[in-house]
């Protein structure tokens, strides 16, 4: 859509607005970016499409730059513990498997906690990932209390001197009060058994999600204090534009992106690549 040499006009701004909306950036963020660009065109006397394109990428990069897109996976006091949460089907279990493989590949001793005791074959699914990543797993029978799995996993992580514990939880909608309470209880139980934990609370967000992504981030962080986001399914055509509003309004950064269903399909978040990909 950005044709080189074309001079800046209203039609170009309309095209730009559509591109940003199409990336799921949302109306509010899109309008604010477009306003910012109109000001820059005036103040810097920008002339053509390339100038506008450059200014746009700057504006987008700037919004992500204020975030910290890395995770410190080491705790100086016993096992580093991560809670994996998010709405149904977003990719939590698969992402837990990918993280386990990544950390095990760094010669860390990794343990998984199968705290989804509700969904059909959820534990079996995570068990296959623990086999693939060659890491141990703590699980209970179906219908067990998720908090007790989380407790036992934390307990085992301490006893076995594990470097990293990853606790996978059941998918849940943020609108379900009792399920959000259950998640808070899981966090409390881990904290009680090992003060300072969980060190990381990762919200797994599906890149095909629209404006509800911001609502999810807001509600989950209100309940648990989310420390980072993993944006999955970016190997599709969805752009994940809601990441900008989440960074700006909630100060929560993307740490990794999921780019496929295989064990290696996890990449550290690169803001520049992410911004470039919006226009591909």
């Amino acid at each position: 859509k950005i044709v080189t040499g074309r001079s800046i006009d209203d039609a170009m701004f309309d095209d730009l607005e559509e591109t940003l909306i199409a990336s799921d950036m949302g109306v509010e963020t899109t309008l604010s970016i477009v306003d910012e660009l109109r000001d820059r065109v005036k103040s810097d006397k920008l002339k053509n499409a390339e100038d506008l394109y450059g200014a746009l990428k700057d504006a987008l990069r700037k919004r992500l730059a204020e975030g910290d897109h890395t995770i410190n996976w080491t705790s100086n006091n016993g096992p580093h513990i991560t809670l994996i949460a998010g709405v149904n089907g977003s990719g939590k279990t698969t992402t837990t498997g990918k993280l386990a493989a990544k950390l095990a590949g760094e010669n860390r001793k990794v343990l998984l906690g199968a705290a989804d005791t509700f969904r059909a074959a959820a534990v079996e699914q995570l068990m296959i990932w623990s086999d693939r990543a060659k890491v141990d797993i703590i699980k209970h029978g179906e219908g067990a209390d998720p908090a007790s799995v989380a407790f036992d996993a934390t307990d085992a992580a301490l006893a076995r001197n594990v470097d990293n514990l990853l606790i996978d939880t059941a998918g849940r909608l943020h609108t379900k009060v009792n399920l959000m309470e259950e998640l808070k209880k899981i966090q409390r139980v881990v904290q009680k058994r090992h003060p300072g934990a969980p060190h990381e609370v990762l919200l797994v967000l599906d890149a095909t999600t629209g404006q509800n992504g911001l609502v999810q981030a807001r509600q989950f962080t209100e309940a648990l204090h989310v420390t980072g986001i993993i944006l999955t399914k970016l190997d599709g055509t969805a752009k994940g534009g809601m990441a900008f509003a989440i960074q700006q309004q909630l100060g929560i950064s993307i740490k990794y992106i999921g780019v496929g269903e295989g064990i290696d399909d996890l990449q550290p978040f690169d803001p520049d690549e992410f911004v470039d990909a919006l226009f591909e």
Binding site: G89, E124, G210, G236
Partner: protein
Amino acid sequence: SLSQKLDSAFKSIRGQGRLTEKNMKDGLQEIRMALLEADVNYKVVKKFMAEVLEAAEGQKVLESIHPGQQIVKIVHDELIKLMGEKNEPLRMADKAPTIIMMVGLQGQGKTTTSGKLALKLKKSGRKPLLVGADVYRPAAIQQLEVVAKQAGVESFSLGTNANPVDICLMARGEAQMRGCDVIILDTAGRLHVDDQMMNEVRQIATQVNPTEILFVANAMTGQDAVSSAKQFNDVLPLTGVVLTQMDGDARGGAAISLIEVTGCPVKFVGTGEKLEALDAFHPNRMADQILG
């Protein structure tokens, strides 16, 4: 809500006499913003707003005493026109077995919805067979078997070393043997841009010739709904859409995009994780929800 926004947009000009073209333009912009915020795809919004403008001009809204109310009614009616006037039920084959094929992107709720459909059909006197054609996702077949057990229905699969096309082909004979009159094919989640996987569903559809091919999508899906649905619709003769996770607070604008792009009705909505949580789609209620 949109009706409140439009009311206030037009109230501010009421004392000044009739509505002007500019007021109308502002009012329509409010509607456009509301639809985009509800996750309706921007191309679908463009087309939809053209219809609304045409209807507004036709109904001479500029000369109306209550322009705000009239426009809201126009938008509401145009939404109903787009989504279908009433619920479209599941198509049954003239001669058993009825074959329902579930397709869609990863994690949208296909396996769970397959179980829900099986339960619904069992309650209406049918004998469904759930078929596990997902050989890729870890423990997918086990998930379907647990769901089948929970629904109290038969299930069939050939394990993860089988070819999904073969599994679906063999399901016919299996259903006949077990006296099942409805076959529900649960396929693996796949990306519309994965040619190999799209070829797989094309083959299944061609060889099995399903009565219904349902595209399953999450109600919180954003702008991408159009890209994925269009591709699936190009490759397969889709007959219906199922919108899952309607028990959440997503506005569900994807419903409009999906109906517009596939030309298919939304037949069911998923309203929870339990197998009972499957409702018929009601265009009227959806229109109210989207307009807020």
